[in-house]
Symmetry: C2
Subunit: 515 residues, 2 copies
């Protein structure tokens, strides 16, 4: 294949050849990334205590390798060649989507100096490890230097990534939510917070109260495991292409096609924690298992953002698995495994499951006040990155904002500023995705119901196939075709709005608390 | 740092700088290798069924990366610079040992074309996977094409590696036993085989017979796990720097310093299989845990050969853990965990443990006839690689040689030519290491006893420290300082001989069978 004879001196490679080269390159990079996924999975599940220092070196080495590939000038050269072709003319074609995402990521990667990328990865790995023991010991003073170092490095990263004009925090959001920014998020979040305050006030004044004891009963770990496997397999999670393990903090890891793993943790006195954390992770895993395998290794075959990811996990966890229809179907199975449920009325169980009780710990929060945790962390980390707040002042700021959001004040650091893994792990800009995910979830759910009919009736009949099918078609199979805001538009014919989530919450808690 | 002014035109890099560059390069390569170790470990322990095809791609990608690094011309340039220094003048210095091994491995690697290396790795991974199910189904016809492909590729590899003159099989042995060759092995093996035949004849004629029922009794997996952990920890295996998992075929995996893992498998009717396979693997792991951590990532900090590795595992498994002293110490603990042992006399247990009974399956063979399995596989694979035997004729050749070695004939392929993972995994040249390992073990053991005094008395007292200490000093801490034949010379002041193993076997079985 040569260039046309009338173009002497031009490079001989055709754009299609450049595109094929990029595909190969992208797939090989994805193979290295999937090795890093496995290394991270192992670190959080089976790594022996003595292996952590070596593991940090492994992670630094693979991170450096990935950074070199992400910033390879040869890649940019090929990318420019392919961009000069007809491909971008069809912006929603697989090829154009790949070019768009390769460009976006290449431009971002080349703005971060390699030593900074390596230092960040190492610092985050060490801080995460230190956090695990320091949190147990409530040792804020010991934790502070790690946090300061991470924030200093993240500010450098954000500054390097920023193209100017905007607040630098936006550059970190972009890692999780391409096309998103703090100002637009703030508008959505303020609306959601106001509606939440109003609803919370009514709930706290309501005479009807759930009984949390309805969720407590002997729950041997082995029985929980069997029960959970039955449920998530029924929802569509393919256990032959995944597995469930224990970890301190549940997570989902896509190693590759045919290998999407989840983890959970167990409470011997109630199956509720393990079940819902597993359904949450299974929601992530269903998204990953539903991505188009034929596009694996390219952006087209990849999930588009954390909020879209969270929309899947939180929708299964909260909107589906805490609904009456779901339990009308699964309650008999639950009673079979946990005979103490026989004595508990299903409505009592459901009410307890959906109890609203403002909590110290985000991961233990109910569906309503969870968003307040997210919104306050968004405000705090925005100030931390923006330089309006320093790490040493964080505990005080934490209390101030908890109070303002009607959340209880912690007695110790472990239940306060040190409760989350995100900051020590360097994941600033991640928190907003959770609440955005809830908004996406509610908007998707409403549209799915409009298309499919009464979802609660389907759940009650144990028929989750059409519901999953709607997401397979409108979300999972889309991969990175659309940026998140465009994806919701394509799937629901509307822009992202807080209204669906607010309406859902009002309807749900109105019914439960008889408001 | 510049070159001397009187050497204009010379490269400016000093040999010490080249050496430091090589150290860095070697350590980074070792980090990638340790990722491959983790990928392999996961494949054999926790990989979901659906993930195998992706896993083969991951392995191919990391193998290609490692091959490129192993054949990097830039590395050869630096190596030549460092070799031109004073370093090789002190051949047992850490630096000279590293240069020697880097050179040996670079020269080998550059003789294998990259496409062949990648194809071999992929073919071996696929053949190993196919073998797992085809073996279960006794499907020799299905397995044959895989074997033919592997042998064809291994012949190509051996031919590419051979420097001429010698039989090409030697080039494959060199991968496991540097400095070794088929002719020298044959001399040792023939002597060992003759002595084994004589001993076997006497044992079969002996009136005294062990009772295998002495090893059978209820052995719940969870109890076995606790028992095994107690024993191997007592022997010196650091569980905080390792772990024990289940796999179909037990193995040891060094992920890195502080992370050396073993696997085992369980028989609910006897703890013997899991215990001895665990002690075997713990023997490998003790070697790896005893290597000098400060040299990790360089040859000086690496094990020198498979036979030396096997000498450690087989010595702990057979010479230590099947001896009277060992059980005089551990029998009470075993009785505590497995109460049915109370009714069994320790001598009866020990005799049953050391029963000689020629078997179909190598991994189930007793200590004496195990060597015959190895010797026959050595003869067969030598012919397969040399082209004197083709895969399709293997079952017939198998039977012929089994008969000649007084071993029983298989009724099916699964218990015959398809029983071992080594050939589908492409590990030709590996088998001899097992019997060589037994010879090294016996020679080391005799010398350790000469240095330390009565080992059986120490074992009986539960005092394994000095014994492990002898190996830490004379074998483990040496890393790759000496080639295997030189290591045994340095540690025992004698050349490798079959005599120590023969004497040990005669003494042991003479006592047990009252010959």
């Amino acid at each position: 294949m040569c260039a046309a004879a009338d173009e002497p001196g031009e490079d001989f490679m055709k754009p299609e050849e450049a595109y094929r080269w990029l595909l190969d390159y992208s797939t090989t990079t994805a193979l290295y990334e999937s090795m890093k996924s496995l290394i991270n999975w192992d670190q959080r599940t089976y790594l022996p205590r003595g292996g952590h220092s070596h593991r940090a070196q492994q992670i630094a080495a693979i991170t450096a390798l990935l950074h070199r590939r992400a910033t390879d000038p040869g890649f940019a050269e090929m990318l420019a060649k392919a961009e000069a072709s007809q491909i971008p003319g069809q912006p929603l074609s697989d090829e154009a989507v790949n070019l768009r995402e390769w460009r976006r990521k290449y431009d971002r990667a080349t703005r971060i100096p390699e030593p900074l990328a390596v230092e960040l990865s190492k610092a985050a790995s060490q801080a995460e490890l230190a956090w695990q023991s320091l949190r147990r010991e409530n040792d804020w003073k010991g934790f502070l230097p790690y946090l300061e170092q991470i924030i200093s490095l993240k500010r450098q990263e954000a500054a390097a990534l920023s193209t100017g004009g905007e607040e630098i925090y936006n550059a970190l959001i972009e890692d999780f939510e391409p096309g998103e920014n703090a100002k637009s998020i703030e508008v959505l979040f303020d609306k959601l917070a106001d509606a939440t305050f109003q609803l919370l006030e009514k709930i706290e004044a309501a005479p009807r109260k759930p009984d949390p004891a309805a969720l407590q009963g002997d729950s041997p770990e082995s029985v929980q495991k069997t029960f959970i496997r039955e449920i998530i397999a029924h929802l569509g999670y393919d256990l032959a292409a995944g597995r469930i393990d224990r970890s301190a903090h549940p997570f989902t890891s896509k190693i590759g096609p045919g290998d999407v793993r989840i983890t959970t943790r167990f409470d011997p006195n109630s199956f509720v924690m393990a079940l819902f954390s597993s359904i949450h992770e299974a929601g992530h895993a269903l998204y990953e298992q539903g991505l188009p395998a034929e596009h694996w290794g390219t952006p087209r075959g990849r999930s588009i953002s954390m909020a879209i990811h969270e929309s899947q996990s939180r929708m299964w966890e909260n909107m589906a698995a805490k609904s009456p229809g779901f339990w009308k179907h699964f309650y008999p199975l639950a009673c079979k495994h946990f005979p103490w449920l026989d004595k508990i009325d299903i409505d009592k169980f459901l009410f307890a499951l959906n109890e609203v009780r403002p909590s110290l710990i985000r991961t233990e929060a109910d569906e309503l006040t969870y968003n307040l945790h997210i919104i306050m962390r968004f405000k705090l980390e925005r100030m931390l990155i923006g330089g309006e707040l320093e790490s040493e002042d964080l505990p005080e700021a934490w209390n101030t904002v908890m109070k303002r959001y009607f959340l209880p004040l912690p007695d110790d650091y472990s239940s306060g500023v040190m409760q989350d893994i995100h900051w020590p792990a360097g994941a600033f800009g991640y928190f907003p995705s959770y609440a955005l995910g809830n908004m996406y979830a509610a908007q998707f759910y409403a549209k799915a119901e409009k298309n499919l009919g009464n979802l609660q009736e389907m759940f009650e009949a144990g028929d989750f196939g059409p519901f999953l099918g709607w997401f397979r078609q409108n979300v999972h199979s889309q991969g990175s075709r659309h940026l998140p805001r465009n994806l919701v538009k394509a799937a629901t014919d509307e822009d992202l709005s807080a209204d669906y989530l607010i309406a859902y919450l009002k309807q749900k808690y109105g019914r439960l608390y008889e408001l």
